[in-house]
């Protein structure tokens, strides 16, 4: 699988990670479990960073002449 394809599909993986993280963060917040909030918030931020890297890789490959 090419670099572009990996970057393309990984964005959907990171999207799924963020959805799961957000749901856990909300549950942790209302359940007053700060440990759970911090863990999943960190996961979401890291996943967002990786998604940004993947997006820029995909964009570079996609618009390459």
């Amino acid at each position: 699988m090419g670099k572009k394809r990996v970057a393309f599909f990984s964005i959907f993986l990171f999207l799924a990670i963020n959805v799961v993280s957000l749901s856990n963060v909300i549950e942790g917040y209302y359940g007053e479990e700060s440990g759970r909030v911090y863990t999943f918030m960190s996961a979401a931020i890291v996943s967002t960073l990786f998604a940004a890297i993947a997006f820029f890789i995909w964009r570079k490959e996609e618009y390459k002449k």
């Binding site: 393309f8 964005i11 963020n18 942790g28 917040y29 909030v37 979401a44 931020i45 998604a51 940004a52």
Partner: protein
């Protein structure tokens, strides 16, 4: 006869024209593969960043949320199978202290986790009951047993010292 046939064909053609008339090519090609990926990336970033306010508020809450120690009752004032209402961690958070038939003290915030109705202790069945929609909670652990509630009652941590019962903390999710 021929005229009639021609007229019919013309009407049919016009109907077909009407059918394709409302198609906008620009709109049709607007969401292509590239746009779809960009939208997905946008959603990923938005959802990822949406977690941060919860983290910040949680941090702010835990900074000023020092554990309160509140005296609830004298041990001798509460007989086995009796309950007493109090407020914890603030007076606006209703709670119930129960001395169970096993001679143990347990306490929970007694707002039903279904629709916030007050929960009462039923001595005969040794159960916590929400009369609004017949929600039953286990008195030993605060978990729902029957009825609409899905979540457990927040548990108040207790300490018995010098013949007095103190509330010393709270676990909203437990077990």
């Amino acid at each position: 006869m021929a005229d009639e046939k021609n007229n019919h064909k013309q009407t049919e053609d016009q109907d077909m024209i009407k059918l394709i008339d409302n198609l906008n090519r620009k709109e049709d090609v607007g969401l292509n593969r590239r746009a779809f990926l960009k939208a997905s990336f946008g959603a990923t970033v938005a959802i990822g960043l949406a977690t941060t306010p919860f983290g910040i508020f949680s941090y702010m809450r835990s900074e000023d949320g020092s554990v309160k120690r509140v005296e609830i009752a004298d041990v001798k004032d509460l007989d086995i199978g009796e309950s007493r209402n109090f407020g914890y961690p603030t007076k606006e958070d209703p709670a119930i202290l129960v001395r169970t038939p096993d001679d143990k003290f347990v306490a929970y915030n007694n707002k039903c986790t279904h629709l916030q109705c007050p929960v009462f202790y039923e001595h005969k069945e040794n159960i916590l009951l929400c009369p609004c929609h017949k929600g039953y909670f286990n008195v030993d652990n605060g978990h729902p047993m029957a009825g609409p509630p899905q979540r457990e009652l927040p548990k108040i941590l207790l300490e018995v010292k010098d013949g007095k019962v103190f509330a010393v903390g709270r676990e909203v999710r437990h077990g």
